[in-house]
């Protein structure tokens, strides 16, 4: 990895963040403002005017836009219109709840998805394979929001086993995590299976057996590491899905995290908070993809990262 590559990568990261943030900046302002949410419908014209003046909403949009970026470069992400405190603080205070949800879901998605994908490939065309793939197909056919609501209906409303809202105990985690995991684990199971099937019939698997390895050894040392390459590649794309899943799961289960804050802030046009969250998401996507690039280069020596950037 040379410095030109890193500089190019960082430049591209900033470009991505700038484009995403600008897009969100414009869309939010074109689709309404927070005045009604904060002051109510009955507010006097004077109050509205004062509110606009206070938040700089009277200025032409390009002035607002330049002011916003000038502030960002000084490290000032603005103030939450609804909460009255720094937008960054408002987001960061909710981050731990979301991160814990995401970490658990990620571990579960990868382990369950990859395990069953590998199993299905090893039992290719047998009943085990068919059962796993049927379950997986039903798994990723369910939209996440439907899955969440159905879980609430079964486990909270009918059986009364699990709490439907909040994040106080481990029991609160079960349904949000399942909602975020089931669909993605099914996708990973399918993808892992096809990646494995691709590898299992490669000539080097025959070589491994001819060397004197048992089938299990050959699978562990030659099939799984090679099948990991395409699986790691889609992990990069999947981070986006993880964030979308968090937004949905948090909204359904009233989880006090960033996802729910995002929905709430968009609804009430709390511009600064939305912008902070969007920046956070783009930064984490950019970083994740950079990490994936590096892992990918390590897994597959044919793709050196230096060349891969050309």
């Amino acid at each position: 990895m040379n410095s030109a590559y890193i500089i190019r990568k960082i430049f591209r990261a900033f470009l991505t963040i700038w484009i995403v943030t600008s897009f969100v900046f414009l869309i939010l302002r074109l689709s309404g403002d927070p005045t009604v949410s904060v002051l109510g419908l009955e507010a006097s014209p004077e109050a509205v005017e004062a509110f606009h003046a206070k938040w700089g909403l009277d200025d032409p949009i390009h002035v607002q836009y330049l002011r916003f970026f000038a502030n960002v470069f000084q490290g000032d992400m603005g103030v939450s219109i609804l909460e009255g405190r720094s937008a960054l603080t408002a987001v960061l205070s909710r981050l731990p709840a979301t991160v814990s949800l995401m970490v658990i879901s990620t571990i579960l998605t990868f382990s369950v998805g990859i395990f069953f994908g590998v199993m299905a490939s090893l039992y290719h065309n047998t009943h085990k394979d068919q059962i796993i793939m049927t379950v997986a197909a039903s798994g990723f056919s369910i939209p996440t929001f439907v899955l969440g609501v159905v879980l609430v209906l079964i486990f909270s409303v009918n059986l009364g086993w699990l709490p439907s809202t909040g994040s106080a105990t481990w029991k609160h985690y079960i349904m949000p995590v399942l909602t975020m995991t089931i669909v993605d684990a099914a996708v990973f199971a399918r993808f892992t299976r096809s990646a494995m099937l691709e590898v299992l019939y490669q000539p080097y698997m025959k070589t491994a057996l001819a060397k004197g390895m048992s089938w299990g050894q050959a699978v562990r040392r030659h099939a799984i590491p090679n099948a990991a390459i395409p699986v790691v590649t889609i992990m990069g794309f999947w981070i986006g899905a993880l964030i979308a899943g968090a937004v949905i799961a948090e909204s359904i289960f009233a989880w006090p995290g960033v996802g729910r804050l995002l929905v709430y802030s968009v609804k009430h046009r709390d511009y600064n908070v939305v912008q902070v969250i969007v920046m956070l998401i783009s930064v984490s996507m950019v970083i994740t993809n950079l990490i994936i690039d590096i892992i990918y280069g390590k897994l597959d020596p044919r793709v050196s990262i230096d060349r891969g950037a050309e």
Partner: protein, 329 residues
């Protein structure tokens, strides 16, 4: 060839694949022996069953393959023994190299790692230091003629040429000190000059290690250059077998004769190369009798329905009712 006890013996081997060729076998009763320290050439056109014969000897046919008959390695039946027995024979007793060395090597592991992997399974090296393994690996790469093995050991298959990959492949298979090496068209994908180098290497290894080699090829030139004895296969059956000189200079089977007459020669100018008329029959269309009957110049009525008996002449044998008269091609 001073040993009279065969190292590998196939007895009436029949091989087929489930769900293919309408259940008809691909190899239909092959018997042959390989002795320690000899190179046996297995020659035939594509689809003659020569590779399948070899894969069944090491039991690497895949899940759809089925076999009948016996494969005796050092007296032990490798077709019916438990899976862990054949696993312990593979690599340490019988090893195999393949046509396309590049894709037969794991593309994302260094050749050193793929080599050491075999060394680590060896009983006599158990518990050795990583230095020992590295040194052994370098020695093996030296033995197969890889230049600068110290550096090459950390490289990946895509950084090496086709010929070098085949050398690496041979080194990997030598790592377990096998007594029999099956080489399935090891030079087919290589340039002619590289081909000759690899064949020389195999001959050298056979001599130095007293290792038996089965060399599968469709190239009579390869047979002439490297083998002691040869077996000619067609349509899943053995046509003729004997010393290389017997087969290549005085063929008795019309098929071998046809193969030899279709070889281009540099000493005579010909307008058009001889060919054997017709095509290789697919396994589902093979007759009860001689598989070569519909392309044979010496064919008679009984050839189609009766499989010719084995005719033994000294150290050679063939299966034909109407053999070619003894004369040079």
């Amino acid at each position: 060839m001073n040993n009279d006890k065969p190292l590998l013996e196939l007895r009436n081997l029949i091989v087929g694949f489930n769900g293919a060729h309408k259940g008809k076998p691909v190899v239909r009763g092959v018997s042959l022996e390989v002795y320690p320290g000899e190179i046996l050439g297995l020659v035939g056109e594509s689809g003659s069953g020569k590779s399948v014969t070899c894969y069944s000897a090491v039991r690497l046919l895949g899940e759809r393959g089925w076999t009948e008959g016996e494969v005796l390695f050092d007296g032990k039946d490798t077709l019916s023994c438990p899976e862990q027995d054949i696993v312990s024979i593979r690599g340490s007793q019988m090893a195999m190299i393949f046509q396309d060395a590049q894709s037969s090597l794991n593309p994302v592991q260094t050749i050193g790692r793929q080599l050491v992997e075999v060394l680590m399974m060896r009983e006599d090296l158990r518990g050795s230091s990583s230095e020992t393994f590295r040194k052994e690996a370098v020695d093996l790469l030296n033995e197969v003629g890889i230049p600068d093995p110290e550096r090459r050991i950390g490289e990946f298959p895509h950084q090496l040429s086709g010929g070098q990959n085949q050398r690496v492949m041979i080194a990997i298979m030598l790592a377990g000190n096998p007594r029999l090496l099956i080489a399935d068209e090891p030079t087919t994908a290589l340039d002619v000059t590289i081909q000759a180098q690899i064949l020389r290497l195999l001959k050298k290894l056979c001599r130095e290690r007293q290792m038996a080699i089965i060399l599968v090829t469709h190239d009579l030139g390869v047979i002439a250059e490297s083998c002691d004895r040869t077996v000619v296969m067609y349509g899943g059956r053995i046509m003729e077998s004997g010393s290389v000189e017997d087969i290549l200079v005085h063929p008795r089977h019309p098929y071998t004769f046809g193969l030899l007459s279709s070889k281009p020669r540099i000493d005579i100018k010909v307008e058009k190369l001889n060919t054997i008329e017709g095509v290789v029959p697919s396994p589902e269309n093979l007759p009860e009798g001689c598989p070569f009957f519909d392309r044979c110049l010496n064919v008679t009525d009984k050839c189609r329905d009766n499989y010719p008996p084995k005719v033994i002449e000294g150290k050679r044998h063939y299966f034909c009712f109407n053999p070619v008269e003894e004369r040079s091609v």
